[in-house]
């Protein structure tokens, strides 16, 4: 952690110097340019005749806010919806989300549509301060003005909650505002989603949802040491990555070896997104959160549109290298893993890793199990868990937590066995890998 932190600081400073030199040479000053923002329109209120359309807009805004999963971050565990206070730990410090209920003192009761648009589209607070990209305006900038206004009208229709949240604890040098402005200058370009006229309306709707409201690349993308999505300047950004500040890996959505869906029927993709399970898969960890909070509310049309877009993403991955041959020591390791599997796993996942599709995921040929890094599979064994309760799957079956039952080496053995049995051919897992994955379990 220390090492990674110091590296990031050094890289920051080097980058700053380099950029300042370049800017001096070009005679530029930092500050985002925005070619797509609209002139401010101050709307002062609605007449009685508008109240029907206002209600429609609020209702639409409620749906859009679900798709953008505003509540996911702006609600503390067990807290009042949208009142903020949730901590987001990152390598740059801990951010604490804000209260976005219409309370005038502690929320956004004094904001107007234009203020909200500026935050969503330009990443700037009402007072003009640049916001940290922990608030995913780098993705939300693709949201249309109309949708932004609808989300705002929904938020303003909520009951105000008076809740003052503490300010974040951002570490030096990241708390130095000019650095943030510089970061924005380099990595952030405001702009609403532009439809690709060569694609269908459905595909474009899916792209808009995935890239904008759904902000999938906030997790399913690699980030550089400064927290910027790699490849943000252009091209696909869903190639998978470690979720910043967490012990989960968000698999690539463009790799057939990870979570790419090119080979899936559209219905199965939509089913996974909206119910949390499909015949071939189950969601866990942060993805289960996203399904519960957000994706289960997708209309059938929007779910299908997302599926159409995700399925169309071009393959980005090379086949992983074949694992090394297993020596005698490795075979003994696997033998012990097999015995643990027999005792703890076989009842649900089957003696040949066949599982029960839609209930207990098959392990034979399971990409989530053989993926590199193996962190998600380790986490699933340690903490167990249920896919989310959704209207399509209200009473999911679950996985027991084994952190209290199995030692690190036992988890490593059984997962090594699973990764090499029934046609699976992935690397063995070490005790150290399991130990590292225990962070955040208690």
């Amino acid at each position: 952690m220390m090492k990674r932190g110091s590296l990031a600081v050094i890289l920051t400073l080097v980058t700053v110097l380099a950029i300042l030199l370049v800017l001096a040479g070009l005679g530029l000053s930092p500050g985002p340019a925005d070619s797509t923002s609209m002139p401010p329109e101050e709307k002062t209120g609605t007449t009685a005749a508008d109240s029907g359309s206002l209600r429609l807009r609020q209702e639409r805004g409620r749906y859009l806010a679900q798709l953008a999963n505003c509540m996911g971050c702006h609600t503390a565990q067990g807290g009042q919806p949208y009142a903020g206070g949730k901590e987001l730990p990152t390598p740059f410090g801990t951010f604490i989300t804000s209260n976005i209920t219409p309370d005038k003192q502690t929320g956004i009761g004094n904001w107007n549509e234009q203020d909200f648009w500026k935050a969503l589209h330009e990443g700037k607070s009402r007072d003009g301060r640049p916001l940290y990209p922990a608030f995913p305006y780098t993705e939300y900038t693709k949201i249309s003005r109309e949708d932004s206004d609808a989300i705002f009208s929904h938020l303003q229709s909520l009951a105000p909650v008076a809740q003052e949240n503490p300010s974040g604890r951002i570490q030096f040098p990241y708390n130095f505002q000019p650095l943030l402005s510089l970061w924005r200058f380099i990595y952030f370009k405001p702009g609403v989603y532009q439809a690709d006229s060569g694609q269908s309306g459905e595909w474009n709707r899916g792209a808009y949802l995935v890239q904008g409201l759904g902000h999938c690349s906030a997790c399913h993308a690699e980030r550089n040491p400064l927290g910027a999505v790699v490849g943000a300047a252009g091209g696909e950004t869903l190639g998978g990555g470690q979720i910043m500040g967490s012990n989960w890996y968000a698999p690539s959505l463009t790799s057939s070896f990870e979570a790419g869906s090119a080979g899936w029927p559209l219905d199965e993709i939509a089913r996974l997104l909206t119910t949390g399970v499909s015949l071939k898969a189950a969601t866990s960890g942060p993805m289960a959160d996203v399904v519960r909070q957000s994706l289960q509310h997708l209309t059938a049309e929007d779910a299908r549109a997302m599926a159409v877009y995700l399925k169309s993403l071009p393959e980005s991955a090379q086949p992983p290298p074949p694992p090394q041959a297993i020596n005698e020591q490795g075979r003994a390791w696997l033998e012990r893993g097999s015995a643990i599997y027999e005792k703890h796993c076989k009842d649900c996942h089957g003696s040949s890793g066949e599982g029960a599709p839609g209930i207990y995921p098959p392990l034979a040929g399971n990409r989530g199990v053989v993926m590199t890094p193996p962190v998600n599979a380790i986490r699933s064994i340690l903490i167990g868990g249920y896919p989310p309760s959704t209207s399509g799957n209200p009473k999911p079956y679950g996985m027991p937590p084994f952190a209290q039952v199995l030692r690190d080496d036992e988890v490593a053995m059984v997962l090594s066995y699973i990764r090499t049995a029934w046609g699976n051919a992935a690397s063995l897992v070490t005790r150290d890998q399991v130990d590292k994955s225990r962070v955040g379990l208690h």
């Binding site: 565990q77 500040g245 029960a356 995921p361």
Partner: protein, 240 residues
């Protein structure tokens, strides 16, 4: 703990077998609550009865409202135990109520009591608190809420017999540190727990765990209005 972007995260999709893998017949899974609570029994024991030397308390036969409150409080962070919070984080109130119902309806025999390890003075201290409380410190008698037979008052107040001593010691500690009902409007047991001394809680845990569980059914008792008032939303909140 590190969960940057956690709530907007998309990750860990467990995916499917390809055609090159032999497909065996799927495991046959019963469509029952017993099957669905398998993750619970890994620690709490099959039939919801953990061993008597276990830290994990039994679930079988506890009042439904009590179990539901615990499940929801674990999920929402009011009762702090991270493994439970992680396990339950994406389950609905309705589903948690079904789980509570499942365990409440299990009728399983209780383990024999633990051997008593109290001095006569400690036993007397425990019995005094249980029967009379201590009005000088505003500590009600345990029996006022937990029932004359100490087997609880449905649907929200749990029984005190048939629990491992170590579990009760840990619970008293958690009440004292406020870790069990954080954010509840009336936090009656924390107020009581903070009044009790370590000697008193140790005596209570030792005495209670040494008592046999009586066999008759206690589900008729009701909570006195004064105590219900003091317990606040613990005895009101429910998904029902």
């Amino acid at each position: 703990m590190k969960t940057f972007f956690l709530m907007m995260a998309i990750c860990s999709i467990v995916l499917a077998p390809g055609a090159e893998f032999a497909v065996a017949a799927a495991v046959d899974v019963p469509d029952t609550m017993a099957e669905r609570v398998k993750p619970c029994v890994a620690c709490h024991g099959s039939e919801g009865v953990a061993g008597k030397d276990s830290f994990y308390p039994r679930l079988a036969g506890k009042p439904k409202g009590y179990l539901f409150n615990q499940l929801r409080d674990f999920r929402d962070g009011r009762r702090y135990y991270r493994p439970m919070a992680l396990l339950l984080e994406n389950l609905s109130d309705e589903y948690l109520m079904e789980m509570a119902s499942h365990f409440a309806d299990l009728k399983q025999p209780y383990p024999p009591p633990e051997p008593a390890s109290l001095t006569p003075g400690e036993a007397a201290l425990a019995r005094r608190l249980i029967e009379n409380g201590d009005s000088a410190r505003n500590i009600p008698a345990c029996v006022e809420c937990h029932g004359k037979a100490l087997m609880g008052t449905p649907p929200f107040i749990p029984g005190l017999l048939g629990l491992p001593r170590m579990y009760m010691v840990a619970q008293f500690g958690a009440w004292r540190s406020g870790g069990l009902l954080r954010g509840r409007k009336a936090d009656c047991m924390s107020e009581i727990g903070k009044q009790l001394t370590v000697e008193e809680t140790n005596a209570l845990a030792a005495w209670l765990s040494s008592r046999p569980v009586p066999e008759r059914d206690f589900s008729v008792a009701t909570l006195a209005a004064e105590m219900a008032q003091r317990c606040g939303d613990i005895v009101r909140s429910s998904a029902e």
